[in-house]
């Protein structure tokens, strides 16, 4: 029930690098404007980061490419994608993905 020092430092560092991008634009943007190319570049960042993370979760297993024939995560992603497009519900997408993977692991 204690907090280890190394874990504390990781949490503190992660919290700091999360806090700064959250508050800085709100605090400064009334005085400074980001140049057009900077905004365009930043504009693609959320999509690029999320796509990269999804690809890594679905296709990489322990630093190697997951064999497609046994990749249940990839199969579970399909109904999750479908529900996201159809319902635009984050809750629906998460529950569909989790339940699909649970059922797939029961079967395979």
């Amino acid at each position: 029930m204690e907090v280890r020092l190394d874990i504390f430092l990781i949490i503190l560092g992660a919290a700091l690098v999360t806090f700064i991008p959250r508050v800085l634009p709100l605090m400064l943007l009334s005085r400074i404007t980001i140049p057009g190319w900077g905004m365009r570049w930043l504009n693609y960042m959320p999509i690029a980061v999320m796509s990269a993370l999804i690809a890594q979760e679905l296709f990489i297993d322990g630093g190697r490419f997951s064999a497609l024939s046994t990749n249940v995560e990839l199969i579970a992603a399909l109904p999750a994608f479908w529900v996201a497009v159809k319902t635009r519900s984050l809750l629906g997408t998460v529950i569909t993905g989790v339940l699909s993977l649970m059922l797939l692991r029961l079967v395979f």
């Binding site: 690098v17 693609y44 960042m45 690029a48 980061v49 630093g63 994608f81 998460v94 989790v98 692991r105």
Partner: protein, 245 residues
Amino acid sequence: MKSESVQAELAAAAPVSEESFLQGVKDCIPTLLGYLSIGFAAGVVEKTAGLSLAEIALISTILYAGSAQFIAAGMIAAGSTATSIIITILLVNLRHLLLSAALSPYFRHLTPLRNLLIGTLLTDETFGVAIQRSANRKAISEKWMHGLNITAYLNWIIANLAGAVLGQWISSPEEWGLDFALPAMFIGLLVLTLISRSRYALDITVGLIAMAVAVGLSILWSPSIGVIAAAVIASTIGAVIEKWK
């Protein structure tokens, strides 16, 4: 700008209660269940990654970011170095720059210090609710925003702790598919972002480039470099194509 003056009148004509803290709490309610489930899954995954209840309370209170907490749990369990964990989280959470920048025009009436308090609890979810509210307004009420932010924050901490407590009896979150809560949330957030931007051709191109680079570099080099390089390369290509079109 005729529409602007109409919007200003609408905002001025809105009853006082519309701007209140309590209204912010009420406007948060539709999102609570979704983040309760993700927070619960995060708590279970953090617990099974070996974090103590106190550490889970700390991470959900001071980090307060779903994706970052799953990543931290996974990387701590995998024995990654502190530096690589923090750099990965920095990159994943860089998107907050955009959310914060997009909200800034609606909080120009506040001092930088008060904007700091607004931004401290900014998340994808509270941003989503706030940007919808900004549609027919020139400014967003500070009290309303705090009502929204604080409700989402408390909901998140409670969900994490509930997951942590129940996680003690779940030996393998994989058996319940709970390790998929994070990828599924990313899928949901990506699809919602794509739909709200409605610039499918370019956005999907950027997404596919990011996926290919991430997979390639994760195999050839290392997974944390893979995400960083993929985000930078794909965003740059997107910005260049947009410029040249």
